[in-house]
Symmetry: C2
Subunit: 459 residues, 2 copies
């Protein structure tokens, strides 16, 4: 969302040459607010302002922009200026930026960055996208178990400007193995002479670098953590994930779940709708649309095959679209509920039969309700459109009701089962997209419809 | 997710009469972990253990359970014991519990609760569900602008056990008007003699009690806040919303978006799938399923009305289900993208024409792709099923392609437009559920299909 209120003010200030006012605003306001106020300007104009802001604040404001705007700004800089900006950025944000620029540009840039930062960048970039390692930051506070509470507070005070958070500090042994956690609150409440080793919490909740980022976010949510330590295969502390990362991970995962559920491929970034070009949107959406159109032709063949039946019992054609839609609706509902329950860790693949049993009960209730509705509909109005010769209205009503009931039952169970199976196979349950489900239960529904009708009508 | 690993251990400890071990575990472990370990037991068994735990820790563990389990436990208590438990609970959690018990029981309970807590409960309960006022808590730290940094730290140290967070403290004037914010980090970094009024941040980001809870959560996300102050109509500070509330609000809103998108009514709680009975699930899902089944009959009437055309040009029936499905798929995709972009505040109703223009471009690309696919399909395979007398295969191909292209274009625009209109009218964009959309574009699609076919074929 571009800020249309503040941006013109900035333009006014620029044209009135009130540089000092702009700089004061930039340095005294929350970086996210500054970024929003500047977002109405071009990347070049933004950089003209930022270049005069204090380097540490400049890096924070710069980090608030979308990566593609960051790149546009960076492209106007010489290598040295860009390297110095990179050095000042928070470690996790600069890795995100560096991952988005071409490899040759990145390689050209690295030698201009100080060795400590360069190694940090190499290390943070080495983890696979979507893992805890790829979202963690390396700006965390470390304490020795031998320090006293007073020494620890003094140390945190000195380090505060460079750390993502000083509210949690981690205690490691000589081999950097994570052995404890202490909060600033605990430090303040403890006697100044207390030893960290005696007052720290030894049961530290952590994740491994290779764990899924969503698992890390779920732990932060479950235990109300400000930050979660990330350890490597040797139990060494290598990073932390903060609560604000968790919020962003959830936001991204929600976007992903929703887009996958609608059979949309692509990067599934949050806040990328407007930035994504129509052509890219087309590419992301078209693959499944086309595959499903192919699959949809199968329904057509079934209708085609049963055209004799449809000709003789025209009433069946009237109920056909409703039957197909209803299967899609009930199947999608149960798929969405199961996918969500899996996503928030409420259920696991082990609960397969519990879920199946619950959905069967719901399916029977839905099926019976719809059967009664359709039977009533056939009985009440069919005399007007004329019952086909040879079949009583009652028989037709029974045939259509039975087919609908069976269709709803099958569709609901397919909707609940497919995400559970995907989860069991360690696939994302949301791969079972609602459009795929709708098209599938269209096919099963038409088969059920026509074979039930044939059977009941003795065709 | 019930913990099936730890719960048996607890049972073992109970049967071995190792009460002391259980109590030690309860008092030294994170309350969320204790609640998970105990979740395999019956509410009565859980309470038997909790009743021996220290009151303040007991209240924290109790607060971690789902409200319905809390109520089961509470029902075994006498009024006095329940009132004392309520008094120890975090203010926001106890209001959630009290809102879920019958009114007469609540009214009977209140006199047994101390006046300060009773007034706090009355105040927090008074805000409408879904507003910032309804999710805030009243356990926040307040400082005077006249204090020094040292005095402020001493005060926070004294108050720490009773406050939700001491990392942010709020500064109010004599009339309780919110005038500043200071973090514990700033306090520690400031000279001990500095006056709060001189070092506090005067530009405090806040929300009003009547603002939507999602707006509060979005502010916490945008500005990476640990807590967000909530003010009333007189700018008085009345509560705070913490980052962990924001995470829960997003989780709840996402469940709600997903369920609404699938036309499921009800409470839209996160983690409520298993707890909700099959009957309740049926009630939540059946209303829209039935309404849409009614609407689906309209499609049936259209098919029925054009049965003469279908009889003469049997090929049309083969493509009919695919055309209906494809409209539903493309419409749902664009609805989901627009709903999500609105939810994360990336777009607002003001962007209506920008969104419409983008979706038109995508729709044209999708429509052309599908038209080419269908035309090729008709041209390649139709000779085998035999072209109907009087119409060339080319004419049929053009008719079906044109109808499909037009259907995809309409469906995509309907899918993008309806949520934008809902947002414009200050309704939740997710009310435009995918099943409703699918059923609607089925109807428009069939009308487009048959009228295009009639027109091109000159029927």
């Amino acid at each position: 969302m571009k800020n249309t209120l503040l941006a013109p003010d900035i333009r006014d200030l620029i044209s009135a040459n009130k540089t000092q006012d702009i700089l004061e605003f930039c340095e005294s306001t929350h970086p996210a607010m500054v970024a929003e106020a500047l977002s109405g300007l071009t990347p070049k104009e933004i950089w003209e302002i930022l270049s005069r802001v204090k380097p540490d604040i400049r890096a924070l404001i710069f980090s608030e922009f979308d990566v593609d705007i960051q790149i546009e700004m960076a492209n106007t800089l010489n290598r040295r200026a860009f390297a110095s900006l990179i050095t000042d950025m928070p470690p996790d944000d600069r890795v995100d930026l560096l991952k988005s620029i071409p490899e040759d540009q990145r390689e050209a840039l690295l030698p201009a960055i100080a060795q400590a930062e360069r190694e940090d960048i190499r290390r943070l970039s080495s983890y696979a996208e979507g893992t805890a390692g790829a979202v963690m930051t390396s700006d965390y506070a470390i304490l020795s178990e031998k320090s006293t509470a007073k020494e620890a507070i003094d140390q945190l005070r000195r380090e505060a400007p460079d750390k993502e958070t000083i509210y949690y500090a981690y205690v490691v042994d000589e081999g950097r193995k994570l052995i404890g956690l202490i909060s600033l609150k605990d430090l303040i409440l403890s006697p100044p002479s207390a030893r960290i080793g005696d007052i720290m919490n030894r049961e530290v909740i952590s994740v491994r670098t290779t764990d899924d980022q969503e698992e890390a976010a779920l732990k932060i949510q479950k235990y109300d953590l400000l930050a979660l330590p990330v350890i490597n295969g040797n139990d060494n502390l290598v990073g932390i994930i903060t609560y604000d990362d968790a919020i962003d991970i959830f936001s991204e995962e929600h976007t992903e779940d929703l887009e996958k559920l609608m059979a949309i491929r692509g990067a599934h970034e949050a806040r990328a709708y407007m930035r994504t070009s129509a052509w890219k949107h087309f590419k992301n959406r078209s693959v499944w649309v086309l595959l499903l159109a192919f699959l949809g032709l199968v329904s057509g063949y079934i209708v085609h095959n049963y055209s004799d039946l449809l000709l003789q019992v025209a009433l069946l054609a009237t109920f056909m679209p409703m039957l197909a839609d209803t299967g899609g609706n009930t199947g999608s509902q149960s798929a969405a509920l199961v996918i969500r329950a899996l996503a928030v860790n409420e259920i696991t693949p082990k609960d397969f039969f519990l879920v199946l049993f619950k959905e069967m009960k719901v399916a029977i209730l839905l099926g019976l309700m719809l059967a009664v509705f359709v039977y009533a509909r056939v009985m009440l109005f069919t005399h007007t459109s004329g019952s086909p010769a040879g079949y009583s209205v009652v028989t037709l009503g029974i045939a259509i009701s039975a087919a609908l009931c069976f269709q709803v039952f099958t569709a609901t169970l397919i909707g609940a089962t497919l995400p559970m199976i995907a989860a069991k196979l360690n696939k994302d349950p949301a791969v079972v997209a609602s459009p795929f489900l709708t098209t599938t239960v269209d096919i099963t529904g038409l088969l059920i419809f026509f074979s039930t009708a044939k059977y009941v009508l003795g065709f």
